[in-house]
């Protein structure tokens, strides 16, 4: 970005017409927010930004650019959290060009200054868009994490026997979570049997099978016997046709069958009262 003459002159011009420009800019922005923010709040926000823009243009200090970027990022983040669309935020920033143009329109000698200023503001507008995207992505990934946490319970079926009923998909992120919860529960309860129930797992393909094998492998390192239950007829056929081999891991059709097996292995028997 050019320093010195052109931008210096623009900085002076903006300083001289601060009230008028910020006022007009605020009006334009408020028209776009449709009542979600008050005029005073907008004036304050934009006034701060305006001051930073002037400082950057006048090349006065080294910190100005960093501060302007930080200020814009904060504006994008708070607008995103308040539910504004990225276009609204970007347009709000870009509309300063219109506010300035209205004043500068009749001053031919300011054209090169205005062009440079316009380019600078365009960059700022793009930056708000990028900031917005990053914030939304963060919100979505936090929500995904919460959903995964909630849908991965580990239950105690009996002394020394725990079960993990899996529902939905089993991708690598989910597998990590399942492994962590299963192993932590094994340690906490001192269990030596784990039943992994896949009745609720929609698709069982080679990848899912590998994730299951990994989970069993990890549980075995903590000394647990593992059984996979919930093998539905179609799933059984898919597994065989894909050539997946569960090796020496016991597999059962239902959770009840797996519980019976675990009890037998634990030397327990269920008898009528």
């Amino acid at each position: 970005m050019d320093v010195g003459g052109t931008s210096g002159r623009m900085a002076d011009y903006l300083r001289d017409h601060q009230d008028k420009v910020v006022g007009r800019w605020s009006e334009l922005v408020v028209a776009g927010v449709r009542g979600r923010t008050s005029l005073d709040e907008v004036r304050r926000e934009l006034g701060d930004l305006y001051g930073l823009i002037i400082r950057v243009l006048s090349g006065a200090d080294d910190h100005a650019e960093g501060e302007l970027r930080a200020s814009l990022d904060e504006l994008s983040r708070s607008r995103a959290r308040d539910g504004f669309s990225p276009s609204e935020t970007a347009l709000a920033v870009l509309s300063v060009k219109e506010a300035v143009y209205e004043l500068v329109a009749d001053a031919a000698e300011m054209v090169p200054e205005f062009l440079a200023f316009s380019r600078m503001v365009d960059d700022l507008g793009v930056r708000t868009f990028e900031s917005y995207s990053a914030t939304r992505e963060r919100i979505i990934s936090d929500q995904v994490t919460t959903m995964m946490e909630l849908s991965t319970p580990v239950v105690r079926l009996w002394d020394g026997i725990i079960a993990v009923p899996l529902v939905g998909t089993l991708d690598s992120a989910r597998t990590q979570l399942v492994m962590e919860k299963l192993l932590d529960t094994l340690v906490a309860t001192g269990a030596d049997h784990a039943v992994i129930d896949i009745t609720g797992v929609s698709t069982v393909d080679t990848e899912v099978a590998q994730h299951l094998l990994k989970t069993v492998s990890a549980a075995r390192l903590l000394g647990a016997n593992c059984t996979i239950s919930g093998i539905r007829p179609q799933v059984a056929q898919t597994i065989v046709s894909l050539g997946i081999d569960f090796g020496d891991i016991a597999t059962k059709a239902t959770l009840a069958d797996a519980l019976a097996l675990a009890l037998r292995q634990a030397g327990l028997k269920v008898v009528p009262a």
Binding site: A134, E137, R138, S141, T145, Q176, E180
Partner: protein
Amino acid sequence: MDELRIRSGDDVVRVRQQVRNAAAENGLSLVDQTKLVTAASELARNTLVHGGGGVAQIEIVKSANGRTGVRLHFTDEGPGIANLELALTDGWTSGNGLGLGLSGARRLVDEFELNSKVGAGTSVMVVKWSR
């Protein structure tokens, strides 16, 4: 950035400890810390045993969307790896393969870059991001 020399078994232990500290201080979960330190252990050992000694560098990095990560760099001026593809295949679960532990280390990290030139040396760069 921290730079540690790798010239002995004790140095490998020191690298593990430094990497553990860096990972813990920068928001990596316990499992991710363990994975990163284990990968560092593999790579540091390679540097010592196959590379004739070298250097480890530990850096904290930031991604475009604001996440923090730990970046490790292992370099040596040893004989280099002749067959990179073979070195990166899973061959050592049963104790076979080149035993370089590179393929395992790769699975433990988020980013992995290996450069090696026969007669000149090897450099491995890995990154693990906080979630």
